[in-house]
């Protein structure tokens, strides 16, 4: 318990020096673009592939479970849409990004720490935490909700694709279900969740990378810890936001 509190205290202190106005906005925006390319654009292919397959699987499973003739087939589309927007496209994608992006961030910062590159920045009088971490956080918090929207669209297309291939229901029923009882608030809720998850992933991974010790083995350990702690934190934040926004 004492260790956990100490760890949280260090995380809080790091965030206090990260979340301040950058020394130079021009340098911040340059780094922001680099990080957006590295963390967001490079994640598009994996998110798209996973979303297509999950969308297709949700449609098959839902159709298989709605065998009852009294339940309209259009509910397959409805269920696919609700599953994707409420949970899959934010929480599942965030967990995947915690692995991909989280390990990338913590290993990059960890390597910079053990090779004294971060010390070199500090020596120059640069707020290294602000320079290295803030663009990552801002980029993820702003753009990952768009990644979530893309995942939602691609997931629905994956569902449509499997309907074309297998004819499990017809396309008219599917599109009718997609439009049925649509609540745009769920999209908003999911985007807010994704922003919060993105903050957790980038800040926690940066924390473990920034304070990595113990050579290359230490960098590996910090990456593992970053993924585990980010993933658990995502689940907790998911519960809290869901309770706050849907209850």
């Amino acid at each position: 318990m004492k260790n956990a509190l100490e760890l949280f205290g260090r995380y809080y202190l790091l965030m206090r020096i990260v979340l301040v106005k950058p020394d130079r906005w021009r340098i911040f925006w340059k780094q922001f673009i680099v990080d957006t390319e590295k963390l967001i654009l490079s994640s598009i292919p994996i998110v798209a592939v996973i979303s297509v397959f999950i969308g297709a699987v949700i449609v098959i499973q839902t159709a298989y479970n709605i065998e009852n003739p009294f339940i309209p087939k259009m509910y397959v589309g409805y269920m696919a849409r609700e599953s994707l927007v409420l949970e899959f496209c934010s929480t599942m994608i965030a967990l995947i990004l915690a692995g991909k992006v989280g390990s990338n961030i913590s290993s990059e910062l960890g390597s910079m720490r053990i090779s004294e590159q971060i010390d070199a920045m500090e020596m120059m009088g640069i707020n290294s935490a602000n320079y290295l971490i803030l663009p990552k956080i801002v980029s993820s918090v702003v753009f990952n909700p768009l990644l979530m929207l893309m995942s939602f669209m691609v997931g629905l297309l994956g569902g449509a694709g499997i309907i074309i291939f297998t004819g499990v229901i017809n396309m008219g029923q599917y599109t009718e279900g997609l439009q049925y009882a649509f609540r745009s608030y769920y999209i908003f809720y999911s985007m807010i969740k994704m922003s919060a998850f993105s903050f957790v992933i980038t800040s926690v991974s940066s924390f473990y990378g920034y304070y990595a010790t113990g050579g290359s083995l230490g960098v590996g350990r910090s990456s593992t810890k970053a993924i585990v702690v980010s993933s658990i934190s995502i689940l907790v934040v998911n519960l809290v936001i869901t309770q706050l926004m849907l209850n």
């Binding site: 130079r24 004294e116 070199a120 020596m123 120059m124």
Partner: protein, 254 residues
């Protein structure tokens, strides 16, 4: 000038710096020497604020550096250049971007002015046609030279070098030593070098402090280090068989 007054540093229960007081003068290469684990890197990192001493004072000119916070130290750090043991060049940046890095943060120079200054610094360390290369494409000696070029980019008043010769062949070591010595004299820089390389000490050690188990036990220069009678210093200086034979040939006592 840098003045160190009675600094102590502990890691847990272990005291790694014991009541160290010393002055470092401008225009001279001051060396901190000692065996591995003696505390010289801790002293160097304490001097630049990468580690905080538990007690004592560090003055840069008239400013009590050790009492300042990050913002307060920022102004002094703009006047500090540091060469790290492994070079600490930024992997994500080319040689040119590495040397330009402090200029981007702390100057309002135009692109052309920055480019000219980068070229000047690289020429000063005898590097040409490497601007667009990444650190991973350079040899160890070239990385050290780029590190020096970056350290002098903003005309520092203070230069700190942590083991500048580690991992270099004897010839390249001498080149790096001479470069540091020339730059120190040319720009009247207060240079502090952390080393356990006796060749370096004999080459450029204008002022030498020997640390033994965290304690500064001997202060002198390269001219009197060979004839010093301090037991631990003698064991350190004449550690190798070659040095012992030279000592016998020279008839040095102690």
């Amino acid at each position: 000038m840098i003045t160190v007054k009675e600094i102590n540093k502990y890691f847990g229960d272990k005291q790694v710096l014991k009541n160290i007081s010393i002055n470092y003068m401008p225009g001279k290469c001051s060396m901190i020497i000692g065996a591995s684990g003696s505390g010289k890197t801790v002293l160097l990192k304490s001097l630049v604020g990468l580690l905080e001493p538990d007690s004592g004072e560090i003055w840069y000119g008239d400013t009590l550096f050790s009492s300042l916070d990050f913002q307060g130290r920022k102004n002094i750090r703009k006047e500090i250049g540091m060469l790290f043991q492994g070079g600490a060049l930024f992997d994500f940046a080319t040689v040119e971007e590495n040397v330009r890095f402090p200029m981007d943060f702390f100057t309002e120079w135009s692109r052309e002015e920055k480019r000219d200054r980068v070229n000047f610094c690289l020429n000063r360390v005898n590097l040409e046609n490497v601007n667009k290369l990444y650190p991973s494409e350079l040899s160890g000696g070239m990385q050290k030279r780029v590190g020096i070029a970056r350290a002098i980019a903003l005309n520092p008043k203070y230069l700190f070098c942590d083991e500048p010769n580690s991992g270099l062949d004897p010839h390249t070591s001498i080149v790096i030593d001479q470069l540091i010595s020339e730059i120190t004299a040319e720009y009247n820089i207060t240079t502090v070098i952390n080393s356990h390389d006796m060749n370096s000490v004999m080459e450029i050690g204008d002022h030498v402090g020997f640390i033994y188990k965290g304690e500064l036990v001997w202060v002198g220069d390269r001219n009197n280090i060979l004839t010093a009678t301090h037991k631990e210093l003698n064991e350190f200086v004449f550690a190798s068989n070659m040095a012992k034979k030279m000592k016998e040939m020279m008839g040095v006592s102690g």
